[in-house]
């Protein structure tokens, strides 16, 4: 085992940096909590009949009036904070991961193709990327949100909120992937294994995805982690501006937006528990991203 760890540089570095290990444990714990929320959470915060306004605004158990029924207290609707947070993290992660996945597929696909084909195609892709960059993420989200509302039939609008939000975040993140993939592809194009494959007459798609892609995954993986963190933060920010998710299916961002109302009112837990949870999640992901960057770019160590 020890020998195995020694031989794999990433593993070895991992076991030798406590902050990374802590981050990994925190991220994993949150991930497990989020994935298994329906089984772990005491109540289902989406089921309106499972909580009652009568239980509203109860503080965490260690405060006066706190009850062990709601260890972290309840919000203004009487919803158990633990359940809300677990489900919220679940939704935030789903949105973050999906947005990141869409952005990476779109961005890597376009970037790879632009780098491989070059010429006019490359120029067009890069101009589209420029346009995307000229529209800040928040504006993109508003745009998508607005268009979706215009196009979708009313009965779908509510259900599509998550999809729309995910798409909006994905659109504002893809450029990063495209630029990185394109730059890395340029580097790989000069590598002789690519020339060998081209010379042999392999299919361009095979060269792009079977040969080049595995070789540029390193930097992309770093961007994936960093962008997952920004996707989660972006979702929170959009929710703060009121273009995020509705309050009855709250993500962490929506929980914070709701909690904002209780900033001064004494019910600190409604704001600060989800906020701390979000920060812990994002910090962990960022620490892991930093770590991956170090592994893939040993010069920076």
């Amino acid at each position: 085992m020890l020998d195995f760890i020694k031989r794999h540089e990433g593993l070895w570095l991992f076991t030798h940096s406590p902050s990374v290990m802590i981050a990994a444990i925190v991220a994993l714990a949150i991930l497990i909590g989020a994935v298994f929320a329906p089984w772990i959470a005491p109540v289902d915060p989406y089921d309106l009949s499972s909580f009652s306004l009568m239980d509203g605004l109860l503080p965490p158990v260690w405060e006066e009036f706190g009850t062990s029924k709601f260890p972290l207290g309840t919000d203004d609707q009487g919803r158990d904070m633990i359940s809300s947070i677990l489900y919220g993290a679940r939704l935030s992660l789903i949105i973050g991961v999906c947005a990141m996945a869409i952005a990476s597929i779109l961005g890597v696909g376009l970037g790879l193709a632009a780098g491989y084909i070059g010429g006019r195609f490359d120029a067009v892709v890069m101009r589209i990327a420029d346009i995307q960059l000229a529209l800040p993420a928040i504006l993109t989200a508003l745009l998508i949100d607005g268009i979706a509302r215009g196009i979708l039939p009313p009965e779908l609008r509510q259900d599509m909120r998550v999809v729309v939000l995910t798409l909006a975040i994905a659109l504002s993140l893809w450029v990063n992937f495209a630029r990185t993939a394109r730059a890395s592809t340029f580097v790989q194009m000069n590598k002789e294994y690519v020339q060998a494959a081209m010379m042999q007459g392999q299919h361009p798609l095979r060269i792009m995805f079977v040969h080049i892609l595995p070789n540029i995954l390193g930097p992309l993986l770093v961007i994936m982690t960093v962008d997952l963190a920004s996707a989660i933060l972006l979702e929170a920010t959009l929710s703060f501006l009121g273009i995020g998710l509705p309050a009855d299916s709250p993500s962490l961002g929506t929980l914070i937006r709701i909690g904002m109302q209780f900033l001064l009112s004494g019910e600190w837990w409604i704001l600060w528990i989800p906020t701390l949870f979000l920060i812990a999640l994002v910090v962990s992901i960022n620490v892991l991203g930093d770590f991956l960057r170090d592994v893939f770019n040993p010069r920076l160590r």
């Binding site: 590598k191 002789e192 294994y193 020339q195 042999q200 007459g201 070789n215």
Partner: protein, 563 residues
């Protein structure tokens, strides 16, 4: 002047301490050029770095003494060491392209170095800088000094680098592969310059190089290193001409001579090459032979021009095209080896790319056997030539996809050209082919990074053979390899060529290597053919001035040193 005794340098790692240099001792007198020669990984650069105090973290000197005159180099603190650098010891790096700060004028870089060590006025420093540049052979130095590094050519840049190293009159200059990145002609000039500086200024040089020819040409004394240890040391003529140690002998034997063609290189038995056992490779050999029953085919080029679009500088004017190859015509006889030789920028790699269809010629025709060979994108992906012509690339570290297993890399041509349909059969054939090129068959389950450069080049050869080609294009296949490995690979290529009647196009900048390999030779310069003909004729009796000069300037060893 410089006295090094029992120098030991260690690099701690998670696998324990790695000893890069062990018990090395040497002395360099003023005006002496001391060559430090060895193959990659011998620790020769580490010695230089240790002396000037620039060991890469986390390396450290664990033992030994280093005295520069009366100064104990190990006893200096950081401040003192930094003041000594440039003042008394300086260094020249391999690549003049990257050694100069691209954002600063030459003048600023020179003046700042002089002012850092001497208490003189800026004007005085400037005039010294001008003198120095002129001494280095840069004309009109006062105005040229205002330029930025990118405005100088490679050779000129290395002169500037030397001027920078010299501008504070150091006692010792450590030159780490100073001419490796340069062409023969420039290399010769730079070597002359170093020689002159040693003689006139009495500067001691430590010349670190892998090129024994360079050592033979200018070094007074030499130390041969291997695995961090000094193998043999003494005056150059004695060590190289009459080596005592087996390793030195083997090294000398592996150096390809320029003045004659030898049949096979004497190669040392090395642990990382499997001697083909009786059966290993037989199946692959049979498979290959079954496919090449028909006669070998030839290749001919007639009036090939290749141009690239130039850099556009205006929206209104089309940029002038850059001519990479011009009026290239030659015939490669079926089953023969055609050598193509030229310096960097001569267009030899473009030629390889044109042949393989990566670059489209503007004019001219190519013929493969009796069929027309379309160029560039007009060559269909399924064109038969894609299988018939295979290539071995220069850089063994990038020519194999590092994310694929050796087995997958090797099986790709079998699958792609539909040569072997069965997956299991493919794997067996690949394993056997590895045996044929002198690799253990188990290698199919490993990744490229688990192999050395020489081994990877063998894998690359195996990959080429697995397409069952008739023509093998080798683009600088050995230029990234050490001489002993180069010798092995050249032997292998010779054997395979004979066994399977391959037509080989062998491209290299190294005249000696080309001579050993080829039946015919083409000399390229700036995209044009300078001379072509049978090898022996071109080497023995060159017609073109260019060929003559090349042959003259290539550093070689006196033939009497070579056994």
């Amino acid at each position: 002047m410089l006295r090094v005794e029992n120098l030991t340098v260690k690099f701690p790692s998670r696998f324990g301490d790695f000893t890069a240099v062990q018990d090395l001792s040497m002395t360099i007198k003023p005006g002496e050029i001391h060559g430090l020669v060895g193959e990659s990984g011998a620790g020769k650069s580490t010695v230089g770095a240790a002396i000037i105090g620039l060991l890469q973290s986390p390396g450290y000197i664990s033992d030994g003494t280093m005295m520069l005159g009366d100064t104990d180099l190990r006893g200096l603190d950081q401040q003192e060491a930094h003041r000594l650098r440039g003042k008394r010891i300086s260094m020249i790096f391999q690549d003049p392209q990257t050694s100069l700060n691209p954002l600063m004028r030459i003048e600023d870089q020179l003046v700042e170095t002089i002012l850092a060590h001497e208490d003189i006025s800026a004007a005085a420093a400037k005039s010294r800088a001008i003198d120095l540049l002129e001494e280095m052979g840069i004309k009109d130095a006062a105005s040229r000094m205002q330029s930025y590094p990118h405005q100088f050519s490679g050779g000129m840049r290395q002169r500037v680098v030397i001027a920078l190293a010299l501008c504070t009159n150091p006692e010792l200059i450590i030159a780490d592969e100073p001419t490796t990145a340069l062409d023969v002609a420039v290399q010769s000039q730079v070597l002359d310059l170093i020689r002159r500086l040693a003689e006139v200024r009495k500067v001691g040089f430590m010349l670190i190089t892998h090129d024994i020819g360079v050592i033979a040409r200018i070094a007074d004394t030499v130390t041969v290193m291997r695995h961090g240890k000094g193998i043999e040391s003494g005056p150059t003529a004695q060590v190289l001409g009459n080596p005592v140690h087996t390793y030195t002998k083997q090294l000398m034997a592996a150096v390809p001579p320029l003045d004659r063609k030898i049949d096979r290189f004497m190669v040392p038995e090395k642990d990382d090459i499997v001697t083909p056992s009786m059966n290993s490779g037989a199946q692959a050999e049979a498979w290959l032979l079954s496919g090449t029953k028909s006669d070998p085919i030839g290749l001919s080029l007639s009036d090939i021009d290749v141009t690239f679009p130039g850099v556009r500088t205006s929206i209104f004017r089309k940029p002038d095209p850059f001519v990479a190859l011009s009026e290239i015509s030659f015939d490669v006889r079926p089953g023969s080896v055609m050598g193509i030789v030229g310096e960097s920028g001569s267009g030899k790699s473009t030629l390889a790319k044109t042949l393989t269809g990566l670059v489209k010629p503007a004019n001219g025709t190519m013929t493969l056997g009796s069929a027309d060979l379309p160029g560039g994108k007009t060559r269909a992906r399924k064109h038969p030539s894609r299988q018939l012509m295979q290539m071995v690339f220069q850089d063994p570290f990038s020519s194999l996809n590092s994310r694929h297993k050796i087995g997958d890399i090797l099986a790709e041509p079998l699958w792609l050209y539909g040569l072997v349909k069965d997956q299991k059969e493919r794997q067996e054939l690949c394993a056997d082919m590895l045996g044929l090129v002198g690799m253990p068959p188990e290698a199919i389950n490993k990744f490229p990074h688990q192999f050395s450069g020489g081994q990877r080049q063998r894998i690359a050869v195996a990959r080429a053979l697995l397409a069952r080609p008739k023509i093998l294009i080798c683009d600088e296949p050995t230029s990234a390899l050490d001489v002993s490995i180069q010798a092995q690979l050249l032997n292998l290529l010779k054997d395979l060529q004979k066994a399977f009647g391959l037509t080989v196009i062998f491209i290299s900048h190294n005249l000696s290597v080309v001579r050993q390999m080829s039946d015919d030779v083409v000399v390229l310069r700036n995209g044009r053919i300078q001379e072509k003909g049978p090898s022996e004729q071109v080497y023995e009796d060159p017609k073109a001035d260019y060929t003559k000069r090349l042959l003259e300037l290539t550093p070689t060893m006196p033939s009497q040193w070579m056994s």
